[in-house]
């Protein structure tokens, strides 16, 4: 990917663009213009084979050219043109407003959701959006129209972070309310009970949804690089904890590492794609993860 295009995927660059549509367009176009003979392009109606006509078949599917040549009534068969319905679940709990550096987690997640939605609609998929914290806060139903992106972007623009994360309940709700099997893209910091999260995701898998989890984390959350005496205040619960971060850094990194390993391992066993994203990282890894998943689905 050319360096000039790569900047369109950089969250720092994207944060300077006030317009989410522009963000999505820049990110996706930047991604694709950097790719060479793309393995992801094009889904069209393709011929498969012919079979003999049976009574009850629709007449409109008879291949009259074959009949003219062979005097046999044959039905032309095609690969079914399949559109995937993608449900983007975006975590808007208070913890997503954390910013260790210049980019908040929620902003990064919004760029990601917007860019993925744009990409999905461009690929011909139906895209829907759910914003959730303790429960589903707002919802944009899935549709495949190109103009549907405006509804999604509007919802993203209006979002505000509030409430605590209750991911398990939301996942169960999604599993119960989605009518059509599709791809569920979860964008969250997964700050909830691990068991609940796994159970919610297992529910989605149970009803044949494909699931990608984009785990958005800040660099400070991963490494705890603060110095001096610091009073940490929990964004969701308001709890306070005063310590010298340098004295607990090693233990913290160990525990966070264990947590991430556990999540990755458990989700991998369940056939759920997991992608850990740091807010200072470009968005292309997320696109590649999505498109690979998309290809496997087709």
């Amino acid at each position: 990917m050319a360096a000039s295009n790569r900047e369109y995927l950089d969250p720092l660059f994207l944060s300077k663009l006030a317009n989410l549509e522009l963000v999505a367009r820049c990110a996706v176009e930047g991604f694709f213009s950097g790719l060479h003979p793309s393995p992801f392009q094009g889904f069209s109606v393709e011929y498969s084979d012919h079979r003999e006509y049976h009574a009850g078949d629709e007449v409109k599917f008879i291949d009259w050219k074959v009949y003219g040549r062979t005097d046999r009534l044959c039905i032309k068969r095609f690969h079914q043109e399949t559109n995937t319905t993608v449900y983007v679940l975006l975590d808007v709990s208070r913890s997503m407003s954390f910013a260790g550096g210049s980019t908040r987690k929620i902003d990064y997640a919004c760029y990601l959701a917007a860019a993925l939605s744009y990409l999905m609609l461009k690929q011909g998929d139906s895209a829907g959006l759910m914003l959730f914290a303790e429960k589903v806060v707002s919802q944009v139903p899935a549709a495949s129209r190109r103009t549907h992106i405006h509804a999604i972007l509007q919802a993203l623009d209006r979002q505000t972070t509030a409430g605590r994360t209750n991911l398990a309940a939301v996942l169960h709700t999604v599993a119960e309310t989605t009518k059509r099997r599709g791809l569920v893209v979860l964008i969250s910091d997964l700050l909830d009970d691990e068991g609940d999260i796994f159970r919610g995701l297992a529910h989605l898998k149970f009803i044949k949804h494909d699931v990608i989890v984009f785990h958005v984390m800040d660099r400070q959350e991963l490494n705890l690089e603060y110095e001096g005496l610091v009073q940490f205040e929990d964004l969701e619960t308001g709890d306070k904890f005063r310590t010298f971060p340098q004295s607990i850094r090693a233990g913290y990194q160990q525990r966070v590492g264990d947590f991430l390993d556990n999540v990755k391992k458990t989700l991998g066993k369940s056939g759920i794609d997991y992608c850990l994203l740091e807010t200072s990282e470009p968005l292309d890894r997320a696109f590649i993860a999505y498109l690979l998943k998309r290809r496997r689905l087709m």
Binding site: F98, L191, E221, Q231, D234, E236, S247, R255, V256, F259
Partner: protein, 679 residues
Amino acid sequence: MSFLGWTFLFGAAAVIGPIVAHMLAKPRFRRVPFTMLQFLRTGRHESHSRRNLRDLLVLLLRCAIIVLIAVLFARPVLKVEAAPQPHKRLHYLALDDSASMAYRDGRSSLFERMIETATDHIRRAPDAVFGVCGLASGRSAQGLSRGQALAEIQRLAVVPKCVRPADFSRLLKQAASPGDTVSAVVLSDFTPGALAEFERTREPAAVDSLSHEIIAPASPVSNAAVVEARAVDVVEGKLEIDVVVANCGQTSQHRRLVAKCEDLRPVPADVTVSSGERRVLRVRMDLGPRARGATRPCLPVELSLEPPDGLAADDTYRLAVCIPQTASTKVLVVYRRDEAFLFETAIEALAGQGAAGGLRLRKAREDRLRAEDLTWADVVVFSSLPADVSCPTTLLQSCLARGGRLIFFATEPGNPQMMERLMRENLIPAVPQKWTQGVVCPEPQPGGGTEFGEQTAKSLANYRFDKIALKGHWLCRASPQAQCVWRLSGGAGFVYAQTQNSGSSVLVNTSIDDSLGLLAKSGAWVAFCRFLVGEGDRIHQYGFRVEERPVLNVPEAMRGAGRAFVDVENCDGGKARAAVNGMRMVLPAPQSTGWMRTLGESSLYAGINLPEGETDLRRPSAEAVADAMKRAFVADPRSKRAIAQAGPPTQSKPLWRAFAWAVLLLLLIEPAITNRLKR
């Protein structure tokens, strides 16, 4: 453990500072919103308690450093039991080897008799450890056998100093251990001076037994001395010296006083003084060509009484006299109006102040100034800056070349053309440029003007010179060579000076007529004129006593050289260095009588004479001597026994070196430990 300077232990109270700081200090933290508190919480209690412990350890370390430093300053010593030593019998002799012991009566001197007495004493004394101390020289030896003590007293000699009983007392205190038996013998002539020294003893020395013996001449004392001399004036080419001759003996003296000085003709004067009488004689020495400005201004004058008497050392008094190069200073006052009377009054007052030859005054109006006036004058005073362009600058140049002085009062602005000319020819140190109104006073002390008299400056301070309010001042442009030697309170220059050849020129920023009038009306006016005219007409004289540090005035030629040290020759011919401090030169303290002189082209002399008390040989009464001995010594064996029974003998072992190492070590490791703990 005890402390030599225990008051420093109060310094340990400084630990309160870090302790209070520790107690008051609240940890300063910053608030950070965060998300993953569940991952932080593990080990919270451990971190908090360890942090407190670490802070406490750092505090303790710092407090320990402060306490150790306080203890170090208090100089701790450890009292350890000394190894028991066998009790000794000590026998100490204090022998008077002061100058008065050189008195010779018939065949032998008092000192020789004292040595004989001391020898007998040592021979007759029971077996003991001997100690010998010269009361004037301070020479001492202890732990001697009988033979060694006899040899030691033969090494003593008379020194031209007074007795110092404190040296003997100190020796006794150091030598004696508790339990020792100490007997002391004092042999002296016990002159009034020596008795006074014994009576002045602050801490008497404890002895078990004390005896003293007065070494006195057999016949009545015959001694007269020159005890004081002072040069008064130079009149008609003759140096007048007042000499004080005292009869310090018991017989009437008919003596001849002879004043000698290098190649000058000796001047004799007969004198008769009865016992106890002091007479002042005025001796007039014809200076010859030196009266008219000598190349060597310092004269070593010896005033001797002939024929010699019992004590020859006090028959001669040495006085160095520095005569000004000019017998009288000729002052020409150049005036424009009628302000000359201001200077006339001051110069006349100065002339009457006992200066050698005094000052001679001549006045001339500026427009009627004659060449012969300028040729005549040593000091030319311009009461205001010259307005006449025809002022003969060549004659002013020649006045400076002769070593003269030009003094300008800036009462009125001079002719600009003339000012530029004077400045160009280096005749004036500064030129007034802009008049500034406003009350200003001279600063209390002159600045870097080494050329001007410190004494006069001090006397000016007595007249509250710095309180004289002038009505304004000129802002002056000084020439590059000029020096501002005195400033006004506003920072502007008050007196500027510069040297040209061997002469000098001075500008006084008196600003306007009123200011000059205010200055002249003040009591400081005469002293200020003395300051301006210089010290050229003052006689300096240098007569000192043994062990008194001679201080000489540095000659002008030497001042210019900017030397910090001057090589000098001592009375005994040895070489030493004298420190030059501005206008003063401090010579090393002499140890014998004679002449000290600076080495160089024109030597300065300092006469070194006997200490004042050593010439008085009046015989003391036995009661007075006994009283003096009681003051200097405590002959009470019980007090010593009490000390002996108080406890085992102890020895003090200094500990401050160990404490210093401990402090140094703690200071070195403190940052490392603090960093380690706070990590």
